[in-house]
C-alpha cells in the first residue's frame, strides 16, 4: 500500500513527519490470517515509525477475543524500517496474548527488536497495584468526614502552636531573626501601600456612585459624604485591605513556606531544634498584624478621597465642605473599630497563609496549590470575621 498524501498538520510535528517521510516509503501494515485450528498469524510489514501512522493493536486483541486461537505467531519478516513503534506494538501484543493464556511466537524480526523486547521483559516485577476496589459512595463520605476532622485538628494544633510561640516571644525566648521581621514588614506593609491605596480609592468612587443613585430618590444626594465616610471607615477600608493582603501576602507566605517544605529547608530547621513555627510563622504573623491597621488607615483616607472626587465633580461640592461632612459623620469609635478589624484580618491572612504553606506536601507541584488554598481560605476567613464583627458591634451598639 502506497502512502497517501499526508493531511497537513500544524506545529513542529509536521517538520519531523516530513523528515521521516523522505526516507520511508510505506505505511506500517498488520495483516491477520487464520485457518481452521491453525495458530493466528499476525504479519507485520512496511515501515514502523513513531512519526508515521500505525495500526491499532486493539484490532488484534478484538480478533483474539472473537475466537480464541490455539496460538499466535507474530511474523516481522515484512518489516522494512522500524523504531520503538514496532517494539511497543509487539510488546503490547505479547502482553495481550499472555493475559489470555495464548501461547505466542515472535519470529522474523531484526535482532535488535528481540533484544529490546528482552530488556523490557526482564525488569523487576511490577509493583502491587493500589487498593483494587474503589470505595463506595458511603465509604467516601465517611473518609472525607474523617479527613476533615483530621484537618480541623491540624488547624487547631497550628493555632495553638502559634499562640504558644507568641507567648514565648513575649517572654523573649522565641527564636527568629529580627532582620527577617523587618524584611517582612517592608514586603507586606510598605510595598503593599500603592495597591491598597489604588483599590480603596476606586472602592470609594464606587460607593459614592451607589450612594448618589439611591440618595437621589430622597433628594438627599448631598449626604453622600456621610455614606461613603461611614462605610469606608467602619468596614470597607479594612475589608478591602484584608482581601488585597490575602492575595498578595497570604499567597506569598504559603508559596514561600511550601517551597521551603519541598526543598527540606523546614526539616533542616527542625533538626537544628529550631521550631519552624517560631522561626517562620511568628514573624509573618507579627508583620502582617502590625501592618494591616496602618494600611487600613491609608485605605480609609484614599477611600474618602475617592468619594470626594465623585462629590466634587458630580455634585459640585467643595473639598472643605466634603471633608467637614465626613468628619461630622465619622466618630473616633468608628475609626478605632475599623483599625481593630484591619488588625484581625491581617492576623487571619497571615495564619491561613502560613498554615497552608506548612501543610503543603513535599513537592514543587504543591507550592501552587498551597498558594491558591491560602488565598481562598484567607478571603473566606476575612468575610466570616467581618460578619461576626457586624453582629458583635451591633450588640454593643458600637
Amino acid at each position: 500500500m502506497r502512502r497517501a498524501a499526508r493531511p497537513p498538520r500544524l506545529g513542529p510535528s509536521a517538520a519531523r513527519g516530513e523528515g521521516y517521510d523522505a526516507s520511508v516509503g510505506t505505511d506500517a501494515t498488520c495483516e491477520l490470517r487464520r485457518g481452521d485450528g491453525a495458530p493466528l498469524l499476525v504479519l507485520l510489514g512496511g515501515s514502523w515509525r513513531l512519526a508515521g501512522r500505525l495500526p491499532d493493536p486493539g484490532d488484534v486483541e478484538r480478533e483474539l477475543d472473537r475466537a480464541r486461537p490455539s496460538g499466535v505467531a507474530i511474523d516481522g519478516s515484512g518489516v522494512v524500517g522500524w523504531d520503538s513503534a514496532l517494539v511497543a506494538f509487539v510488546a503490547d501484543l505479547v502482553d495481550a496474548c499472555r493475559a489470555r493464556s495464548v501461547s505466542v511466537d515472535v519470529r522474523g524480526f531484526p535482532a535488535e527488536v528481540g533484544r529490546l523486547l528482552e530488556i523490557a521483559e526482564e525488569g523487576p516485577a511490577p509493583p502491587e497495584p493500589p487498593a483494587a476496589a474503589p470505595p463506595s459512595g458511603i465509604e467516601r463520605i465517611g473518609e472525607q468526614a474523617l479527613r476533615r476532622e483530621e484537618r480541623l485538628g491540624d488547624v487547631v494544633a497550628f493555632v495553638g502552636e502559634s499562640a504558644l510561640a507568641l507567648g514565648r516571644l513575649v517572654r523573649r525566648r522565641a527564636r527568629f531573626r529580627p532582620q527577617d521581621l523587618w524584611l517582612l514588614v517592608q514586603q507586606s506593609g510598605a510595598e503593599a501601600l500603592a495597591i491598597v491605596a489604588l483599590v480603596n480609592f476606586l472602592v470609594g468612587i464606587i460607593l459614592a456612585f451607589v450612594g448618589i443613585t439611591q440618595l437621589r430618590s430622597f433628594s438627599a444626594e448631598g449626604f453622600v459624604a456621610q455614606v461613603v465616610g461611614i462605610a469606608v471607615v467602619r468596614d470597607m477600608g479594612a475589608l478591602i485591605t484584608g482581601i488585597v493582603l490575602s492575595g498578595r501576602s497570604g499567597g506569598a507566605f504559603a508559596a514561600q513556606l511550601a517551597s521551603m517544605n519541598a526543598t527540606q529547608e523546614i526539616d533542616a530547621l527542625r533538626t537544628l531544634g529550631i521550631s519552624p513555627v517560631e522561626f517562620l510563622v511568628v514573624p509573618r504573623l507579627l508583620a502582617l498584624t502590625a501592618m494591616a491597621p496602618l494600611l487600613t488607615l491609608f485605605a480609609d483616607a484614599t477611600g474618602i478621597l475617592g468619594g470626594a472626587v465623585v462629590g466634587t465633580t458630580m455634585l459640585h461640592q467643595t473639598i472643605p465642605g466634603y471633608v467637614r461632612q465626613t468628619a461630622a459623620a465619622v466618630s473616633a469609635g468608628d475609626l478605632v473599630g475599623g483599625l481593630v478589624k484591619g488588625a484581625t484580618y491581617g492576623l487571619l491572612v497571615a495564619l491561613t497563609g502560613t498554615l497552608r504553606g506548612m501543610q503543603a506536601g513535599r513537592s514543587a507541584a504543591r507550592v501552587g496549590e498551597a498558594a491558591t488554598a491560602a488565598v481562598v481560605a484567607g478571603i473566606v476567613a476575612i468575610i466570616a470575621a467581618c460578619g461576626v464583627y457586624q453582629y458583635v458591634f451591633f450588640l454593643l451598639g458600637w
Binding site: 498538520r9 506545529g11 513542529p12 510535528s13 517538520a15 519531523r16 513527519g17 523528515g19 513513531l50 512519526a51 501512522r53 500505525l54 491499532d56 493493536p57 486493539g58 523504531d83 520503538s84 513503534a85 517494539v87 511497543a88 506494538f89 510488546a91 503490547d92 535488535e112 533484544r115 529490546l116 530488556i119 523490557a120 521483559e121 525488569g123 523487576p124 516485577a125 511490577p126 509493583p127 497495584p129 493500589p130 506536601g361 513535599r362 513537592s363 514543587a364 507541584a365
Partner: protein
C-alpha cells in the same frame, strides 16, 4: 570516518559568562554510536558545555553542529527541529511533578507525533519497561527513589527514539551499585536502540565503564587538555588527567 558519521561537532567553541571565559577554543566531534564522555573536575565547565550543546546558553565564539548542520546560528525553528533528534536526561531527572510517570513520557509523544492514544500508551509502557519501571505508569515522581527518578527521566529522554542522548551526571546522588546499574542500562539501550550518547560526568567509574572516548576539560587552563579512550587517558594521559583518575579511584 567521514563527516556524515559525526552526529555532533563542536568547532572553536569559546564559552563564558560576561567577560569571564570558562573554556576557549574547544574542538571535538562525536561519532555515531559512541558514548562520548565530557569529564573534568567540578567547575571545569562541563555543565556549561552541555548547556551550549543544547542551546540553553549562547557561545562567545565558535559553533555547534548537529549532523553537519549549523546549530548555533540556525533560526529558532531549525534549532527546534535539530533538538528533536536529541533526548536529555538532566542531573536531577527534572520530571514534571504535576504529571504521573506515564504522562511524563507521553508528553513528547503527544506533542511531536500523531500517534493515537492506544499507540502512545503502548510506547510509554515499552519505554518504562526498558528502564525497569514496568507497572509504574500511574506513579507520581515524588513517590520514587532517586535511582528510579533517574530511570524515569531516561525513559522520557528516549521517548522519541532520539539519535543523540545527552546525560548530565548520571551517577549524581546515587549510591555506587545503583549508579553502576544505570551505567549498564545506558550501554544496553545504546546497543539496542543504536543511540549515540554524550555523557557529562566526574564519576571515574562511569567514565571507565561506559565511555568510548572522553574529553578532559581543565578549568584552570581554560581548555580541553586531552581526548581519547578513557583507559588510555588513565595510563598515558597528561599528568592532570592521570591525577584525576587516580584521585577518583582513591576516593571511590
Amino acid at each position: 570516518m567521514t563527516v556524515a558519521d559525526d552526529v555532533l561537532q563542536v568547532r572553536g567553541l569559546t564559552m563564558g559568562y560576561g567577560d569571564r571565559v570558562v573554556i576557549r577554543d574547544l574542538d571535538f566531534r562525536v561519532r555515531r554510536g559512541e558514548v562520548y564522555v565530557v569529564m573534568g573536575a567540578s567547575g571545569s565547565g562541563k555543565t556549561t558545555l552541555l548547556r551550549h550543546l543544547l542551546g540553553l546558553q549562547e557561545p562567545v565564539a565558535g559553533e555547534v553542529r548537529y549532523g553537519g548542520e549549523d546549530f548555533t546560528r540556525a533560526p529558532p525553528e531549525d534549532r527546534e527541529r535539530l533538538l528533536r533528534r536529541a533526548g536529555v536526561l538532566f542531573q536531577g531527572a527534572a520530571l514534571w511533578t504535576s504529571m504521573t510517570l506515564a504522562e511524563n513520557v507521553a508528553l513528547p509523544l503527544e506533542q511531536f507525533t500523531s500517534l493515537p492514544p492506544p499507540a502512545i500508551r503502548a510506547v510509554v509502557r515499552l519505554k518504562l519497561s526498558l528502564v525497569g519501571l514496568r507497572g509504574f505508569e500511574g506513579y507520581w515522581p515524588w513517590e520514587l527513589s532517586g535511582g528510579m527518578q533517574k530511570r524515569a527521566g531516561l525513559a522520557r529522554a528516549i521517548a522519541l527514539d532520539p539519535e543523540l542522548l545527552f546525560i548530565d551526571e548520571p551517577s549524581a546522588s546515587l549510591d555506587p551499585p545503583t549508579a553502576r546499574r544505570l551505567d549498564a542500562l545506558l550501554l544496553r539501550l545504546r546497543d539496542a536502540l543504536g543511540t549515540t550518547a554524550v555523557i557529562v560526568t566526574h564519576d571515574v567509574a562511569t567514565i571507565l565503564g561506559v565511555g568510548t572516548r572522553a574529553l578532559f576539560l581543565d578549568g584552570e587552563a581554560q581548555r580541553a587538555i586531552a581526548e581519547g579512550p578513557p583507559s588510555e587517558l588513565r595510563e598515558h594521559g597528561p599528568a592532570a588527567v592521570r591525577a584525576f583518575f587516580a584521585g577518583g579511584a582513591a576516593g571511590a
